[in-house]
């Protein structure tokens, strides 16, 4: 675990003194234990002050410069004249006389950050007592405790690595983000410690401190590793460093980078090494690559050529101690081998081995996530500034990101929505059916969804948005994210609603008188005292009224096509066709109607009234334009591999070649049609085409002399 609070790093066994303790006694304890300071407590264990080396040094007397020195004087030199009074005074001094009665303290729940800061802000303060609520001492923390944490850096990195692995395994964006955050946190922690660590001992620490800016500047892992090698070589006894990596295929290694101090011999050795290609398992780099374990040689120049292939050159160039280690990726395969050389023999320095390999291996991870983070930043700035509203969510609809435009659209800020589900925010105002269908498409079918949703802004105002939601899949075809692009369409929607109402009112106002006229004429025609001529005129008015009625119906139907808000239902296709056929037969009693079906479960799910309009129009047409004497219509629904195929065939005349391209046009009536049927709106097939287009159905026809005409509708399932 990361140090979260001061408790994680403080020393719990605290040596304290009482205010009455003699100063000399206290000084002795400090010296013998190498303490820099001690808390002072009363009989109840309550903190009353602190006594530090510093307090002793800064005592007013000029002769008392340093307690340890003073102590030496006591031990070795007999009390001299002139010092007597001072010494006497010293003997009488108690801790309470010099202690700082108002020391800086930390509470037990102080965070690691706060702990670091207290040392950063107060350069002379050391150590700092840690107290519980009752002001009792529960521990003490000193600068060295912080530095000690740093030595555990490799362990921390390993933890980050595990976390990153987990993130990769779970393939979730938020975990990856957390890993990045954790890594970042650790990195900052280390930087922070390096700040307060100034002046403290710790060779590795200083080294790492030097590496930080170079690593931060580096653009990729290769570059960062090279920087690390360079820094090690210019700051330590390791004067030459090499990076070995794959050459061509995965079986051979070649030196990719080398750096040394400015030295003729070292440069010569590098040039020799450039000529080497090691097979896996061969030579020091090859062995390390295979074993994945560091190797340390006290003196390679004394080794046999069989174990150190470059032994002769090492001898010639005065190369002695060598240390190599593998750089592993997160799947534990070697990506490089780094070898350092010294110009003198040296025994293994475990601390350095641990330190430098942890740094190198940590770098790999660092860069993986740095890259990821850079991409994220790039992506964020790109989509962040888009005028389109963009939202990214996890596969479970947990919001990961919204851009500025989305904030403006909904009134919610990024921070308010992150980690939440849209249904807790602006969503959840459509029917359950709607959402079920939406999820079916994007999550189960993994296909993009487009639709209009009514949502509620943060201020409670309802609004309409047009959304396009796309599932973003990973290489295994699993959903990684959902990305939604939306635009507010409230205004458009309001216009549409107005238009709907307008059409509905007009429709009603037109229909009513038309129906009334129709019924009145019907009644009138039954009158007994009508002449044949009157009857003919009445019949005429009736026909005109009827065609006006159908025109109004057609217009109303057209005004409804292409609307997204139509209700859908599953219905029995076969049954509906039977119904239509009955109606058509009533109107065209002389035509022979046939109906065939192929396949089971002939049901479709769509807006029923519009769908039946399509089939009704086509069957009516077929019947009305069938052969005048022996009219015959064949209607068929067949189940195909990918949907249903409706066809309506008649034995009528061929559609003229020049009319074929215009047959679905608005208000088009062919000469043949006019000949067959005097009244007609010229909207029938146009409506068929418009509805089919809006449903994603395919409609076409075939017509030939002697073969009649067939209209087809392909309904994809």
């Amino acid at each position: 675990m990361n140090p979260k609070t001061v408790k994680d790093i403080m020393t719990k066994e605290v040596v304290s003194v009482f205010p009455e303790t003699s100063l000399l006694e206290a000084a002795k304890i400090l010296y013998n234990n190498r303490f820099t300071g001690m808390p002072v407590i009363d009989q109840n264990g309550i903190l009353v002050g602190i006594i530090t080396e510093y307090d002793l040094i800064s005592m007013e007397s000029e002769t008392l410069t340093h307690i340890p020195t003073l102590q030496k004087i006591f031990q070795t030199i007999p009390a001299g004249e002139g010092h007597e009074k001072e010494i006497e005074k010293l003997f009488l001094l108690k801790v309470e006389d010099v202690m700082n009665p108002d020391p800086l303290v930390l509470s037990g729940d102080a965070t690691f950050e706060e702990t670091v800061n207290i040392f950063k802000e107060h350069h002379r303060v050391n150590p700092v007592p840690v107290l519980d609520d009752q002001k009792k001492i529960i521990g003490i923390v000193s600068r060295s405790d912080l530095v000690k944490f740093f030595t555990e850096f490799p362990v921390t990195l390993k933890r980050v690595k595990t976390f990153a692995e987990q993130a990769t395994a779970e393939k979730t964006g938020s975990l990856v983000e957390k890993s990045v955050a954790l890594l970042e946190e650790n990195y900052q922690l280390v930087s922070k410690i390096s700040e307060i660590g100034q002046g403290e001992s710790g060779e590795h620490f200083t080294l790492f401190n030097k590496m930080i800016p170079a690593i931060t500047r580096a653009r990729n892992l290769d570059q960062a590793l090279a920087e690390v090698v360079k820094i090690v070589c210019s700051s330590t006894n390791w004067v030459l460093g090499e990076i070995w990596a794959h050459h061509g295929n995965k079986l051979f290694l070649r030196m990719k980078f080398a750096w040394s101090t400015h030295d003729h011999e070292l440069e010569k050795f590098i040039n020799y090494s450039r000529g080497f290609i090691f097979a896996l398992g061969e030579g020091m780099p090859g062995r390390i690559w295979l074993s994945k374990k560091p190797e340390w040689e006290n003196d390679v120049s004394k080794m046999s050529v069989s174990t150190f292939l470059r032994a002769k050159f090492a001898e010639e160039c005065n190369i002695k101690a060598a240390f190599g280690f593998p750089v592993l990726d997160d799947r534990d395969s070697v990506i490089a081998v780094i070898v350092f050389f010294m110009q003198k023999a040296s025994r293994k320095d475990e601390g350095f081995v641990r330190f430098i390999s942890a740094v190198a291996n940590g770098l790999n991870l660092f860069f993986r996530y740095k890259l990821l983070e850079e991409r994220t930043v790039l992506l964020r700035s790109a989509i962040g500034s888009s005028s389109q509203s963009i939202l990214i969510s996890s596969p479970d609809a947990e919001i990961i990101f919204i851009n500025k435009a989305w904030e403006l659209m909904t009134g919610y800020s990024f921070d308010e929505v992150v980690g939440k589900n849209p249904s807790e925010l602006w969503g959840g105002h459509m029917t359950n059916d709607f959402y079920e269908k939406l999820w079916q498409i994007i999550k189960t079918e993994k296909k993009p969804f487009s639709g209009e949703l009514e949502n509620v802004k943060k201020n409670g105002v309802k609004y309409w948005q047009e959304s396009h939601i796309t599932p973003i899949l990973d290489e295994y075809g699993e959903i990684k994210f959902f990305m939604a692009i939306a635009a507010e369409i409230t205004e458009k929607k309001q216009k549409e609603q107005f238009q709907d109402e307008f059409v509905s009112i007009i429709g009603h106002q037109l229909r009513n008188p038309l129906i009334t006229i129709s019924w009145l004429i019907e009644w009138l025609s039954k009158s007994t005292n009508l002449t044949e001529e009157d009857k003919e005129k009445i019949k005429n008015i009736y026909q005109q009224n009827k065609s006006l009625s159908s025109f109004v119906e057609d217009l109303l139907m057209l005004s409804r096509t292409g609307k997204n808000n139509l209700t859908k239902e599953k219905f029995d296709f076969k049954f509906e066709i039977h119904m239509i056929l009955g109606e058509v037969q009533d109107h065209n009693p002389e035509v022979k109607l046939n109906f065939y079906t192929e396949g089971e479960d002939l049901s479709i799910s769509t807006n029923k009234s519009m769908a039946t309009q399509v089939f009704s129009n086509l069957i009516y047409n077929a019947a009305e334009y069938a052969d005048k004497n022996r009219g015959e219509v064949k209607v068929k629904i067949a189940k195909t591999e990918d949907g249903l195929l409706f066809s309506s065939h008649n034995n009528g005349p061929e559609i003229a070649e020049e009319d074929k391209s215009k047959i679905f046009s608005k208000l088009f009536r062919s000469d043949m049609a006019k000949e067959y049927k005097k009244s007609g709106t010229g909207l029938g097939l146009f409506i068929v085409k418009t509805i089919c287009d809006s449903f994603g159905w395919n409609v076409w026809f075939e017509s030939g002399a002697g073969r009649g005409t067939t209209f087809y509708v392909k309904i994809p399932l």
């Binding site: 009513n512 129906i515 009334t516 129709s518 019924w519 009145l520 019907e522 119906e553 807006n607 009234s609």
Partner: protein, 137 residues
């Protein structure tokens, strides 16, 4: 034409079935009423929703023709009130409307209406025939 609202003759072959027509369009109401009376029905008519509701609850007709777009009280509100009544719970109400398919589905959602007749689809004769069939005449 005669004053259409005053015609109220009950033919001798009356079979005591009463029909209420709630319709604001005078000519339409008149045409339907005349034709039903001719068939021997007892016909009441109302020009607006409120009147329709009052007649219905007072006279308990065997069948009610109810338009949807009505003055004073909308057809579906009339229906709601009828359904709240003890007698009205099971009354035979036929919605006679000029609304189109889509609108009708939207409007009638949640109402128990046994039959919807769209005026445009029906000839006057057919309506009368349908009523006779419905009332097992």
């Amino acid at each position: 034409m005669a004053d259409i609202d005053t015609i109220n003759i009950s033919p001798p072959n009356l079979i005591y079935k009463t029909i209420l027509i709630v319709e604001d369009e005078d000519a339409l109401r008149w045409a339907l009423k005349e034709n039903l009376i001719k068939e021997g029905f007892n016909v009441l008519d109302a020009k607006n929703g409120q009147e329709g509701l009052d007649f219905a609850l007072k006279n308990h007709p065997d069948l009610i023709f109810l338009d949807l777009v009505l003055p004073k009280m909308f057809g579906l509100d009339v229906l709601k009130k009828i359904r709240e009544d003890d007698w009205g719970k099971n009354a035979l109400v036929v919605v006679l409307t000029s609304l189109g398919n889509g609108e009708l589905e939207k409007q009638a959602e949640g109402f128990s209406v046994k039959d919807f007749l769209q005026k445009k689809d029906w000839k006057l004769d057919e309506v009368v025939k349908w009523v006779k069939h419905k009332l097992e005449y």
